[in-house]
């Protein structure tokens, strides 16, 4: 098992230790599989770090670099039919910057 920042958590990871809030209330049991909603909920409750199964933590490193390199291709494909418009070209660039920053911040 490995402790990771909540910002690095992704749906599908399994919690390896129970997650409790500052008051000691149990939020998640060991073995719970994280979902987008639960990650958001933990963030809302001020949880900064969680313990996940080691296999997920190892996979995260590789996953992050692959995802960053995919951002350009994904955005290009999404915008392929609308790039004749100046505003959409601007938005596509902006999206690439923000999506890469999002991937990078999850990796920290």
């Amino acid at each position: 098992m490995q402790v990771i920042a909540l910002a690095k958590a992704i749906p599908g990871m399994k919690v390896a230790r129970p997650v409790t809030d500052n008051a000691g209330n149990l939020l998640l049991r060991e073995g719970f599989e994280l979902t987008t909603v639960w990650i958001e909920r933990l963030r809302e409750r001020g949880i900064m770090a969680i313990t996940v199964e080691a296999a997920h933590a190892d996979a995260l490193e590789e996953d992050t670099s692959v995802r960053r390199s995919r951002v350009d291709a994904e955005v290009d494909e999404m915008f392929v039919d609308v790039m004749d418009n100046e505003v959409m070209r601007y938005l596509a660039q902006l999206a690439k910057t923000h999506l890469k920053a999002r991937v990078a911040s999850r990796a920290q």
């Binding site: 963030r43 809302e44 609308v82 596509a92 923000h98």
Partner: protein, 288 residues
């Protein structure tokens, strides 16, 4: 709506039976609000008679979405601070998730991701409205939140056709609206607006649903529709949730001119939309 589209829509919706209804609370609040002499106390009493809705409203008004420095503990206090219209909007925005089934039978259309996209559109619409100096930002949040509800109607009530639609979306990498047009002859936009008329929602919400892919069709609420159109595009670009497809619709020149924004205005809109999404996490809670 053009006659031919109307006929096609009628053919499709005639096959739908057992449509969900909005919480009766909304109709009761509307009725009270028609009377100018209605007091905050009367509305508070009505809302407080439903503990589930009361709890949701208090959670929303005390969340970072509103960010009040002091805790609001009663509905009367919330009404005094936010006003009737905002409270009515909160009732709608916090209960809409219960109106439909929580999960889709279709694995390619994740309901949580769908609502995340919808909440994102609400946030983006609110941010764009603020950028334009508009005051009715609550209405814009709701318009963004509800603009794609027609997709759930198709998924839940015309499920076989919905599978066919998603097959087309994935095989040809097209917009879901284009696939709907090919399979049903109408899109989620027309179906959503038809449902909102049945629900007696405001003309602004009906038009935002009907014309978010083609704002030039809007007759009265042009600015609101243009905002939801741009909000949808911004959310897709930022990959906030998923509305069932991976393409981005073309920006309507008409909508862009209506808004009159410089292209650089997109920088703070994109930035602020993501922050607003973090503040709106309470609504994601309601989707579960």
């Amino acid at each position: 709506m053009a006659g031919a589209t109307h006929d096609r829509l009628k053919k499709v919706v005639d096959k739908i039976s057992g449509l969900p209804t909005l919480p009766a609370m909304l109709a009761s609040i509307n009725k009270l609000m028609l009377n100018p002499r209605t007091s905050a106390k009367e509305v508070a009493q009505l809302i407080s008679s439903d503990p589930a809705i009361t709890s949701k409203i208090l959670r929303v008004v005390n969340s970072s979405f509103y960010g009040f420095p002091n805790r609001i503990t009663t509905i009367s206090h919330a009404i005094v601070i936010l006003g009737f219209n905002t409270i009515k909007s909160i009732v709608l925005s916090s209960t809409i998730f219960d109106v439909f089934q929580k999960d889709s039978k279709e694995a390619r259309f994740n309901r949580t991701e769908f609502w995340k996209h919808s909440i994102g559109c609400g946030c983006a619409a609110k941010v764009i409205a603020k950028t334009l100096g508009m005051s009715a930002v609550e209405e814009l949040f709701i318009a963004g939140l509800l603009h794609d509800v027609g997709k759930i109607v198709i998924d839940q009530f015309l499920h076989d056709q919905f599978q066919e639609i998603l097959d087309l979306v994935h095989a040809r990498k097209i917009l879901i609206a284009q696939a709907e047009e090919e399979v049903l002859g109408v899109t989620h936009a027309e179906i959503g607006s038809w449902l909102f008329q049945k629900w007696n929602l405001s003309k602004g919400l009906i038009e935002a649903a009907a014309s978010h892919h083609n704002p030039a069709l809007a007759s009265e609420n042009v600015r609101q529709v243009a905002i939801v159109h741009l909000a949808d595009i911004v959310c897709r670009a930022l990959q906030i949730g998923s509305g069932g497809d991976r393409k981005i619709p073309a920006l309507s020149d008409y909508a862009w001119k209506t808004l009159g924004l410089p292209v650089q205005a997109l920088d703070p809109i994109v930035e602020e939309t993501q922050l607003e999404m973090e503040r709106a996490v309470i609504f994601l809670d309601f989707t579960r």
